[in-house]
Amino acid sequence: MKILVTVKEVAEVDDEFQISGLDIDEGSLEYDLNEWDDYAVEEAVQISEENDDVEVVTVTIGPERAEETVRMALAKGADRALRVWDDSLENAQFLDVESKADILAAVVEEEDPDFVLTGVQAGDDANGATGVALADRIGFEWAAVVNALDIEAGVASVHRELEGGIEELTDVELPSVLTIQTGINEPRYASLRGIRQAQRKPLDVHTLDDLGLDDSVVESPVERTSMYEPESEGDATLWEGSAEETAGELATFLRDKGVVEG
């Protein structure tokens, strides 16, 4: 059995940051494995540990820098990794949902996995759409926002986490794409041994051309036109001073409110 896990390196923004042009300035960003993908990798690795002959392959669309993130997934137990990148991806303003689905669909065609796990969303652009768009593109079944998963006899029995503390119990035929919600498992830390082993695991780089695609896949009718810091809608009163002083202000407020007596 082969499980393909899509992973993304996401940008996290420093408390103090600059916007330059249509994106946040590189200097204000740090990169990490997308939180939701971390749970997807863990789920795949657990399935491979519980069953014989399971191969876990990760795929990412990203520049060379992203290899650090991909190695992290390898260190946690994925068997090998693919990274898709070339100049046309480098030059694209951003990749819309359709472009990502196109690229990942070509990878699925090449790898022919039994099922695909993705994160529900990426922490940075939060589209929450790639997994389901991919499923439709490749003719797989799917389920979004999965927080429990049990695979048996060609069927994935899942819980989909709905709003307000309600879960939907659904059977999904394989092959399918499942988008994984945080909390489904407890992602492991990469062990030192895992990190050493990850260095020796295959990490192949594919261009669009290698996947039988051309640069028209990055074309999109959707164009980013601006990025800005939203004007705070709030009118919060900010208490200032040392921690002792601000805590004192808050204490006074809580006493005035009658939350605490005396």
Binding site: A129, T130, L162, L169, V172, E173, P221, E229, W239, T246
Partner: protein
């Protein structure tokens, strides 16, 4: 040309986002100078159509297929309906179920999709606004296409309240049952247990800023000292540091205390969905740009590990050694 919005219901009730879609849809239809049409799929379609028949809706299509949400039915029905009415804009909710069908519908109809839209404006093309990087920035996108699909962030537009007189038409979708690869077997409620955070007057709520489980006694002591109840954002529960019934937010509990003290919580939209109804919101966060400050009434931009011990001492308690 028309605007077509897909309503949502669950276990016999129309969900609020459906009424918000009416407001957003009417706004867009006015900008485009066109009609607003709704689709009601599955369940008591007649009853639901009556519910969503609000002022500004021109036509409501009822698709009498299935009881509860099934994404295969939704995808097929919406694709067929859209092929017939040819909407310029297809609006769907950015709800959990929206996440489960909207991308497939957009793919199937070959429409560009922008999700979690918080605002839009017509300027020849459509320009939409969304948030990125955990709500720290807003971005606008220009959609240069005749037709497009959008998912609309819940609770961003007001609910349409006034009654309307839309035409109600049954739409006969031709659902290929053999193509439905998922079966919904039922629902389960989660998160019961010892404490009901929805009953609390004062909540001390902790987020990822607490860093490690070993640091939890600090906020537990604060909650004790204040006679408050401890709640949290999602990562704390995901980590297993607090039980599920303490989680505030979209997939957790909706709380309405007199005072909500958000400590080390950034204010992600799914968290805010659960606590914005609090009477007074106080935030303690090192990041002055954290979105929590957009809804907070009071704030302290500082390290919780400095402020919380001082606060405990203010009330005669003793901060634990961490």
């Amino acid at each position: 040309m028309t605007v077509l919005a897909i309503t949502e219901h669950r276990r016999g009730d129309v969900r609020d986002v459906s009424y918000e879609l009416v407001t957003a849809g009417r706004e867009l239809a006015d900008d485009l100078g066109t009609d607003l049409e709704l689709a009601v799929i599955g369940g008591d379609v007649e009853g639901f159509a009556d519910d969503v028949n609000r002022d500004g809706v021109d036509t409501i299509y009822t698709v009498d297929e299935g009881e509860e949400f099934n994404h295969g039915v939704y995808t097929q029905a919406i694709e067929q309906l859209a092929t017939e009415v040819e909407p310029t804009a297809l609006l769907m909710p950015n709800s959990v179920n929206g996440l489960d069908y909207a991308p497939a519908v957009a793919e199937g109809l070959d429409l560009p999709l922008v999700t979690d839209v918080v605002d839009f404006e017509t300027n020849g093309n459509l320009e939409v606004t969304r948030e990125q990087y955990g709500g720290k920035v807003e971005t606008t996108y220009d959609i240069d296409a005749d037709d497009y699909a959008l998912t609309i962030r819940p609770a961003e537009w007001p609910k349409a309240e006034a009654a309307g007189d839309a035409a109600i038409e049954a739409f006969d979708a031709d659902i290929d049952e053999s193509a439905l690869g998922t079966t919904v077997n039922g629902f389960e409620e989660v998160g019961g247990g010892d404490v009901d955070i929805t009953e609390a007057d004062v909540l001390v709520s902790i987020g990822r800023g607490i860093d490690e489980e070993e640091n939890l006694p600090l906020v537990e002591e604060l909650a004790d000292t204040l006679g408050a109840t401890l709640s949290s954002s999602r990562p704390i529960v995901d980590n297993g540091w607090l039980p599920k019934n303490r989680q505030v937010g979209q997939s957790g509990k909706v709380v309405t205390p007199d005072v909500y003290i958000a400590i080390g919580i950034s204010g992600a939209v799914q968290h805010v969905a659960g606590m914005k109804g609090a009477d007074t919101i106080v935030a303690i966060n090192t990041d002055p740009n954290a979105p929590i400050y957009d809804i907070a009434d009071y704030g302290i931009v500082d390290d919780l590990f400095d402020v919380v011990p001082e606060l405990i001492e203010e009330f005669g308690g003793e901060a634990p050694d961490l």
